[in-house]
Every structure is written in C-alpha cells, then in structure tokens.
C-alpha cells in the first residue's frame, strides 16, 4: 500500500511547482490536492499549507532582500495589517465548519482564476513632484535591462485596508495572500511588478506564522504530514522558479484556470457530500 505521506509529498511537489510557475504560491493548490484527492481534513490541510508558505517565503525573502528587489519598508508597513488579518483568520478558522471553509476556498479559487484571465498591470508613473506625507520614493535595479527604476509608494491607507483582508484570507484558507497583495501593490500603490511580487513574498512568512501558531495550538498541524508537505512544496517551488522562464505563461494560465475550476468543483462536492 502506498503511504499517505508519500502521496502528500508528490502532491506538494506538484502544488509548489505549479504555484511558483504562476506566481500564485503553493497554498492555492496544496489545500485542494490534500482534501479533494487525498481526503485529508480541510483544517489540517490548511495548517500544513501555512507551514509550506512560511518555508517558501522565508527562503525566497533571503534572496530578494540581498538582491534589493524586495522593499522592506513597504513590506513592514503592510505586514502590520496582514499579520492582524492573519491572527483573525487563524482564530476564526477554529470555529468554522470544514464544509464552510471548503466553500470559501472554492469561491477564492474561482476568483483567482477569473483574475488570472483578466490580469492587469500598471506601469510605474514618473516622479516629478515631492512625495506626500504618507508616500515615499524608492528604487531598484531591473536585472533584465540594468536600468535604475525609481517609483513612489502611494495610497498606503487603502492598501493597508486591503492587506488586512489578504491576511485574513491567508489565515482562514492557508493561502499565501500574494493573489491579493501583488495586485494591491502594483495597481493601487503604483509599485513595479518585480518589487510587488518580491515584497509580497517577503510578507507571507510572518503573516502565515501569525495564523499557523493558532492551528498549532489547536493540534491541527499533523507533524507526520508537515514533513512531506513542507519539503515537497519547497522542492516544487525551487523547480518551478527555475522553469518559469522556459514555460509559456499563457498556456500555464489556461491550465491553472482549468485546474482551479476542477478543484473548486471538488471542494464544493466535498462540502455537500455526507461525511
């Protein structure tokens, strides 16, 4: 008989790889894979997914901080909101029925699939005036061109409010929150997409840790499942990041939409099926 941990390991490699290829993180894929395919309780799946998010985020952050892509000041400012949201989400998840969580997860999967189909990116505005009271200017060196790109962080107030929701979703569903953080920073704040994605990754570790401790205290982190999932997501994310420049993004997006819709249907079926 094939061991459940081995199956979880394979599922985590696939989820981590796919998540890294599309920049949506492993959580969006690992939770439905563990619940729909392997029949693991949704609370346990969310808890181990959060551990995977921490592992991938902290490793990538080290590299992004060194390269200067991640804007630590921006990340810390938004982290206050995402961590508060993460604590709320992690706490509330303890009182929510597994069926309701499955339905919520299905809704988020569909929303992300729709967002992927109509993805929008904002160009960086030119800096001609002085930054306002809650704004600041920063810059990074774009590796593809060697160009020094200056940008201004704007709309910190509204972005903080959205980050609160991103943190709550992360704690509630075990997803990274990048699907909310990246468009918020890029479209709402005018942050270049490279800085937005790397800063979001920097924020995910602390956000996930804030809610993961709550799952840990409730005994919902299965130690025997944590190993294969964390190591698997970690390996998958590294392979996915390496392959991301070689695989056509358009085809991947279409594949993601198809898989996300199948998983959403699976989560809904699970929610309505008798236990």
């Amino acid at each position: 008989m094939i061991n459940l941990e081995l199956l979880a390991f394979v599922a985590a490699i696939l989820a981590g790889g796919f998540g890294a290829l599309l920049g949506v993180g492993g959580g969006l894929m690992i939770v439905p894979l563990l619940t729909v395919v392997l029949g693991i309780d949704v609370h346990v799946a969310i808890a181990v997914s959060l551990l995977g998010v921490i592992a991938v985020s902290t490793t990538a952050s080290a590299s992004y901080l060194t390269s200067g892509f991640a804007d630590r000041r921006l990340g810390l400012s938004l982290l206050v909101a995402t961590v508060i949201g993460g604590i709320f989400g992690g706490f509330v998840a303890g009182f929510i029925d597994a069926r309701v969580l499955s339905i919520l997860f299905a809704v988020v999967l569909v929303a992300v699939a729709v967002q992927m189909l109509r993805s929008r990116r904002t160009q960086v505005a030119e800096l001609i005036d002085e930054p306002g009271r809650l704004e600041y200017d920063w810059s990074y060196v774009e590796p593809s061109t060697g160009e020094h790109v200056a940008y201004r962080a704007r709309n910190l107030g509204p972005a903080t409010a959205v980050s609160l929701v991103a943190g709550a979703l992360s704690g509630l569903l075990g997803i990274g929150g990048g699907v909310v953080n990246v468009p918020t920073m890029n479209v709402l704040m005018g942050i270049p997409i490279r800085v937005a994605t790397t800063t979001s990754t920097y924020m995910l570790g602390a956000t996930a840790a804030a809610s993961a401790v709550l799952y840990f205290s409730r005994g919902q982190i299965d130690p025997l499942l944590a190993g294969p999932v964390v190591v698997g997501v970690f390996i998958g994310a590294r392979v996915g990041a390496r392959l991301s420049h070689r695989v056509p993004r358009q085809a991947l997006s279409v594949m993601f939409v198809a898989v996300a819709l199948v998983f959403a249907a699976g989560m809904l079926l699970r929610a309505w099926s008798p236990t």
Binding site: T58, L76, A209, L224
Partner: protein, 96 residues
C-alpha cells in the same frame, strides 16, 4: 533613495532557520516512511517550532539592521514582532 540599509543578518537568519527546519522535517519524513512514527513526530514538532519562530527572528534582526538607517521602519518591525507574540499568547490561552 540610495541609502540602502544592511540585510545580511536577516537573510542569514531566514536561510538558516528554514534550512534547519527543512532538514529536520526531511529526516522526520524518512523516519515516517520506515514506520518510526514516534521519532518522526518528535523531530517534526521541533522542526515546526523552528519554522514558526524563523519569521520572528528575521523581524528582530530587521529591527537591529534598520534602527539607524530607517528608524520608523525599525519601529514597525518591532510592532509586527509584538503582534506575532500576541498571536502566540492567544494560541497558548486558547490551546486545545
């Protein structure tokens, strides 16, 4: 705009914490495959604790690195750290 604060210690701490945790989880996974569940559970629990503490350790080193170059950001790092402690406290108080 060009005054870049240090990041070396934060990067090292984040890498070391995750690497140690992943190593222990990897060993625990191998032990579980060989049905040594008791040892695997103990090792995994230690690894999970290290993993959960890694972002907090990173925030502490961020505070140290930023306190001169970006004092406001350093204070925010401390605030986030305080929130993580609050989360731990809530977790301990509502423990199953």
């Amino acid at each position: 705009m060009t005054d870049r604060p240090q990041v070396a210690w934060t990067a090292r701490i984040l890498t070391a914490g995750t690497a140690l945790s992943a190593l222990l989880l990897g060993v625990a996974f191998v032990l579980s495959v060989f049905d040594l569940d008791g040892q695997a559970t103990l090792l995994s629990t230690i690894a999970v604790t290290i993993l959960l503490a890694t972002p907090a350790a990173g925030l502490l080193s961020t505070f140290v690195e930023l306190r001169r170059a970006q004092p406001t950001a350093a204070v925010i790092a401390l605030a986030v750290l305080a929130l993580l402690f609050a989360a731990t406290l809530v977790a301990l108080l509502t423990r199953a």
